[in-house]
């Protein structure tokens, strides 16, 4: 027998665990789309204020991620993809996640209001509310359309960026919002098709679980068809131009072809090649969004030289 014992209290979080709480990978998409929103707007913003605005839009997104992890810790613990997140793995206490999420939400909205304007701050506050209350607390566990409506939260950043520069909401920012909103369902349903057991084990009513995989394949095709006119319509506004239109035509044709291939397959075919088509469409959908927003940026960058825009 010995008197030396190890103290087995709750684990202490490292700084990296708090960073993980803010979902840095999601934040990178928020930073990119908000940056595009601010840069393609017709009003120029002082670089310092643009930087501060983007930073606090990203922090607001991160804060909503922390609140989502606080609320969803029970289902995150069941799913393979999420069981190592800081709260379910015990590295960060549930109360800490709530405190950090609430504190950073308030701080990010306040600082965005001071750096740009209160419309942008209001939109950020609404985005956090929408993601945490409407999506995480309400829809995620109650309807298979969770992804469709929850996708709106991820669609707000370019609209907030545009509002930072112009102080208004316009057809351009609404179309950038609609582009991400319509892109989200086929993107996530392609993921749900090959992350087979995760959502059903956690009891989350994903379309694959409630309506079956045949219906999910049909939904991917329908939403990709609806996405195409939205992407092309954005090209006819002041942020579009020939580069964007060429890019949108090619990328939408490729996305439609991928969705068509997913629709044509059945489960036996998908299992035979380990969901190769579903995985490639999911990967492609990431490039799709990145390249379309990159094209908006290219149009804005080339405009002073007489190339971009119509």
């Amino acid at each position: 027998m010995t008197d030396i014992r190890a103290f087995e209290g709750p684990q202490e979080a490292g700084f990296g665990d708090y960073v993980q709480l803010l979902k840095p990978r999601v934040m990178s998409l928020v930073v990119f789309t908000a940056l595009v929103g601010i840069l393609v707007a017709p009003v120029s913003v002082h670089p310092v204020l643009a930087f501060v605005s983007i930073l606090f839009i990203a922090l607001g997104g991160g804060a909503s991620g922390a609140l989502n992890m606080w609320w969803d810790a029970d289902i995150d613990a069941v799913m393979r993809r999420t069981k190592n997140r800081p709260v379910p793995s015990g590295r960060v206490q549930s109360g800490e996640a709530l405190g950090i999420g609430m504190g950073l939400s308030g701080l990010s909205v306040l600082m965005l209001g001071l750096a740009s304007n209160w419309l942008a701050a209001g939109l950020l506050a609404f985005t956090i509310f929408f993601y945490v209350v409407i999506y995480s607390m309400w829809l995620k566990r109650s309807t298979p359309q969770n992804i469709v409506i929850g996708g709106a939260a991820g669609a707000f950043p370019p609209m907030i960026g545009w509002a930072c520069a112009t102080g208004a909401v316009s057809v351009e920012s609404l179309l950038m919002f609609a582009l991400i909103f319509m892109w989200t369902p086929p993107h996530f349903w392609a993921l749900a098709l090959f992350m087979k057991d995760d959502y059903s084990n956690a009891g989350v009513p994903m379309l694959t679980v409630t309506h079956g995989r045949r219906s999910t394949r049909k939904h991917i095709l329908v939403y990709t068809i609806l996405l195409a006119p939205v992407a092309l319509a954005a090209g006819f506004t002041s942020i579009g131009g020939p580069i964007y239109m060429a890019m949108a035509a090619v990328l939408n044709a490729m996305f439609l072809r991928g969705a068509w291939r997913i629709w044509k397959r059945d489960e036996a075919m998908a299992e035979a090649d380990n969901y190769a088509v579903e995985k490639s469409v999911f990967r492609f959908s990431l490039y799709y969004l990145f390249l379309l927003f990159g094209a908006f940026l290219a149009e804005a960058a080339l405009r002073p030289y007489g190339f971009g825009g119509w």
């Binding site: 202490e12 979080a13 700084f15 990296g16 708090y18 310092v48 204020l49 930073l55």
Partner: protein, 62 residues
């Protein structure tokens, strides 16, 4: 040899404290930079009367 060897938890705490300290330092710099830009741009320092075109109120000397 140190009398009390560092436990892993001490390095983790140091890392966390350093991270929080640097974050707070960065926040101060951001607020300072933002203030400088706002003040240089001028808008917030002007009184409402000056912004509106400055008609002196009745009973005051110009």
């Amino acid at each position: 040899m140190a009398l009390r060897p560092e436990h892993e938890i001490h390095t983790r705490r140091f890392g966390r404290n350093l991270g929080v300290g640097l974050t707070l330092g960065a926040f101060i710099l951001i607020v300072f930079a933002m203030t400088v830009v706002k003040v240089t741009q001028g808008g917030i320092l002007q009184a409402p009367a000056a912004q509106a075109g400055a008609e002196p109120a009745k009973g005051t000397t110009p």
